[in-house]
């Protein structure tokens, strides 16, 4: 039961992540490598706020706001850069976020203060379980329900967004930016919005993660994590609603299966990496219409 709840929480978190990343990859047609960074930003913001005594809603709202504002770091370059170059920019943002998180540390200051915001490589421990309106998610079941509810909310928002004229506009901009501008569409502003929603949701997923695991360190902002998130989107199929959910489930199931097969952790890590690579190559082969293709099998 606990194991099922654990899986459910993880699935919820990564469904949000994949769903939000899909807004950038599938609907804007830009491959981003810095999603783990926003995930980590959300978790750190949540951790600091909740350790300062704020409830789940306030703390995660803070996380979302920070993620939303910092999304400008990628959305402004997206005005100008596409393809290769955007990928490099997002990689730079990723490295910058990871660097800042690892280095915002000062030995004598308390974690969460301005001098030692992230506590650097030591991370922030003992993050309290989420509580709201006097209620506290102490059991695994209540945690799973919270995660599921949050994921449900995010999926509803995403669904409404991508099915709305706004989602159609995003896809049109992806298809032909110049033609969209020629129709008087606020192309740049719309991209900004898409990135803000995407990064905000990633931060929300990070808040959920921090509240569940109770400890965070800079590894959550690692490039590997970004690649994992990207793989979820690509595996599931970009540019549609159900794809990311499928992708998140597939890639979360994979290490669990390896664990059930009793493969040692070190070997499993490498195996996983290779499997991701293979999966990606296979997928690209089978979907020659490219990354942002709408029609998929």
């Amino acid at each position: 039961m606990n194991y099922a709840c654990h899986l459910l929480v993880y699935l919820s978190i990564y469904t949000i992540v994949a769903q939000s990343l899909n807004l950038v990859v599938g609907y804007c047609g830009l491959i981003s490598l810095c999603h783990a960074g926003y995930f980590a930003i959300g978790s750190y913001a949540y951790a600091i706020a909740s350790k300062a005594g704020y409830g789940f809603v306030t703390a995660s709202a803070l996380g979302v706001s920070v993620g939303l504002i910092l999304s400008l770091a990628v959305s402004l370059p997206a005005w100008m850069f596409k393809g290769d170059f955007f990928l490099l920019i997002s990689l730079a943002v990723q490295i910058a976020i990871a660097d800042v998180i690892s280095n915002w540390v000062y030995p004598t200051a308390e974690p969460g203060t301005l001098r030692n915001l992230t506590n650097g490589p030591y991370g922030i421990a003992a993050i309290p379980r989420p509580h709201w309106l006097g209620h506290r998610a102490d059991t695994m079941v209540s945690m799973a329900i919270l995660a599921l509810a949050t994921a449900g909310l995010c999926m509803l928002i995403t669904f409404l967004l991508v099915r709305s004229p706004w989602g159609r506009l995003l896809k049109c901009i992806r298809d032909d930016e110049l033609a969209s501008r020629g129709l008087g569409k606020p192309v740049r502003y719309t991209k900004l919005q898409a990135f803000a929603v995407s990064c905000g949701m990633a931060a929300l997923a990070g808040s959920l993660y921090a509240s569940y695991v109770g400890y965070i360190d800079p590894s959550s902002a690692s490039l590997d994590n970004s690649l994992l998130m990207l793989s979820m989107v690509l595996v599931g199929g970009t540019g549609n609603f159900q794809g990311p959910v499928v992708g998140a489930a597939t890639l979360l199931a994979f290490p669990e299966i390896l664990r059930l097969l009793h493969i040692p952790a070190a070997a499993a890590a490498n195996l996983r990496l290779m499997a991701y690579g293979l999966l990606l190559i296979l997928l690209v082969h089978l979907r020659p219409q490219g990354i942002a293709g709408e029609r998929q099998a």
Binding site: L160, C172, D176, A179, R181, V187, E294
Partner: protein
């Protein structure tokens, strides 16, 4: 809906007389690409409801100008002003500092599109993953569903709006005959259909000034019809201002829609009326004039002179001779031509052009294109002396011709090929040639030598007549009245070749019916 609204608006405009208001005003536009001045000092106005045809050679800057008109490209210098959407919008280049810093009101496709300047692209640029109806729907301005927080917070309102919109779009597509493929993705329908949707999309975005980049390019002749139909409709509502870039070979198809022709040549814009260029594009025989003229001259340079009452004189000369200024072979000044007692050929209806004046140099091929009854034949006969000129002067090689008899004129170097029956039917071919003093006879005629002229076919007669007129004595000026009438292609090129050889030290004046 958009279209219907516009048509309504058009009626209002017409009654209030607002139709002739200026829509676009271009002043001293300059644009340089990589050191090459593509546009130098382009000035033009477009009145509301006008249909402008923008033409020019490949690389003359047509697309550059279109891109400037639609905000896709900023000129290096000059001003661009629009009066559309009931408001004015002006840009001057290079832009002043303050406008470079503020993000509002920039010279960009977005700004111009919101102000009612729309465009289509040559390769249509539809959103290929979207259905045709979504391609049009997305163009609608001010959709509340495109505000993300409204889309999330008030989905029902968005859905209602979308439903209305789709009804409108369905009607537009039905009108275009695309009702059945409304939900097909844009990359799965034929080119002609995408071109129609591209136009509908621009209109849906609220375009009043619509710039069309080669709307007919790449279409089969059957498809051209449907696009042309829509263009015609737009032109006729006369509320839309159209700027159409088109390739030369498609121009005849749209010329009757057009109110103004802009010709870009070497960076400058020439503004003409369609009638002026009509002669170049007489619809049924687009290629005919340049074609046979080129057979005669090779690489040609043309100066076109209007002769009044719908007639024009093309002075065609070899490019190699373009810079040579020679003493004129023929000088015509203020000539008034009569047939019987009626003066024809610009007979006073056009006061400014009471008589006609032109000159031809050695190597020039003059082509008179005129409607039937204008007096082409009479003009040639006047020059040849068969008819006498009542007014004006005629000079051959500087010597006045007035008063000289046809025979004298023949001797001083004018030969005339009449339109029909210039040979004596009772003679044999051999005798006819002999009479005309033709020494060398080409093979094809030699085979006919012993037959009587009356037994020849029409084409054979014409060839014989040409030979008699031009291969006999030497001449300085050949007057040819419809020399190609009834001839097949082979004969035409044969005649052209021979005419070409003669043009080395003579001029020729050819009259053909205008076919525009």
């Amino acid at each position: 809906m958009q279209l219907e609204q516009e048509i309504l608006r058009s009626d209002i405009d017409r009654t209030t007389g607002a139709r002739n208001r200026l829509a676009v005003r271009l002043r001293s536009l300059r644009k340089t690409f990589g050191g090459q001045e593509v546009l130098k000092d382009v000035n033009a106005d477009i009145a509301r409801g006008e249909v402008v045809l923008l033409r020019g050679q490949n690389g003359a800057g047509k697309t550059t100008l279109l891109n400037i008109l639609t905000g896709n490209l900023a000129p290096d210098a000059g001003t661009v002003e629009f009066s559309t959407n009931g408001a004015a919008l002006a840009f001057s280049f290079p832009p002043p500092i303050w406008s470079r810093i503020t993000p509002w009101g920039r010279f960009s496709p977005e700004t111009l599109s919101r102000h009612g300047i729309g465009r289509t692209w040559q390769d249509t640029r539809l959103f290929k993953t979207q259905s045709l109806s979504d391609n049009i729907a997305v163009a609608s301005p001010r959709l509340i569903g495109e505000i993300p927080h409204v889309a999330v917070a008030n989905p029902l309102r968005v859905r209602r709006e979308e439903k209305q919109l789709q009804t409108v779009v369905a009607r537009v597509l039905d009108k275009l005959g695309l009702g059945e493929v409304a939900s097909s993705p844009a990359d799965s329908v034929s080119l002609a259909k995408t071109k129609l949707v591209a136009i509908a999309r621009a209109l849906q975005a609220g375009a009043e000034v619509l710039c069309l980049d080669e709307p007919l390019a790449g279409l089969d002749s059957t498809d051209v019809g449907s696009v042309l139909g829509v263009l015609r409709q737009l032109a006729e509502t006369s509320v839309f201002t159209l700027v159409i870039v088109e390739h030369d070979f498609n121009i005849p198809r749209i010329l009757d829609l057009v109110t103004t022709v802009w010709t870009l040549d070497k960076g400058r814009l020439k503004i003409e009326k369609p009638a002026d260029i009509k002669a170049w594009f007489h619809a049924p025989c687009v290629e005919e004039l340049p074609r046979w003229a080129r057979l005669v001259i090779g690489d040609v340079d043309v100066i076109t002179v209007p002769l009044g009452s719908g007639a024009v004189l093309h002075r065609v000369r070899s490019k190699r001779r373009a810079n040579i200024t020679d003493a004129p072979v023929l000088e015509v000044e203020d000539l008034v031509v009569h047939r019987g007692y009626r003066s024809v050929a610009c007979n006073g209806r056009d006061e400014a052009l009471r008589g006609m004046s032109f000159e031809l140099q050695r190597g020039d091929l003059g082509i008179i294109e005129a409607p039937n009854g204008w007096g082409k034949t009479a003009l040639l006969e006047t020059i040849a002396g068969v008819t006498t000129a009542k007014e004006g002067s005629l000079k051959l090689l500087g010597l006045p011709l007035n008063g000289q008899s046809p025979w004298n004129r023949r001797r001083s170097g004018i030969t005339l090929l009449q339109a029909r029956d210039s040979s004596f039917s009772s003679l044999t071919v051999r005798d006819s040639l002999h009479l005309a003093g033709v020494a060398y006879v080409q093979d094809d005629l030699r085979a006919l030598a012993s037959r009587s002229v009356s037994s020849l076919s029409g084409g054979e007669k014409q060839r014989l007549a040409f030979t008699c007129a031009c291969d006999g004595q030497s001449y300085d000026l050949a007057l040819l009245d419809e020399p190609f009438t009834g001839l097949d292609d082979k004969s035409i090129s044969g005649i052209c070749k021979r005419l070409s050889a003669h043009l080395g030290n003579a001029a020729a004046l050819v009259a053909v019916p205008s076919l525009a």
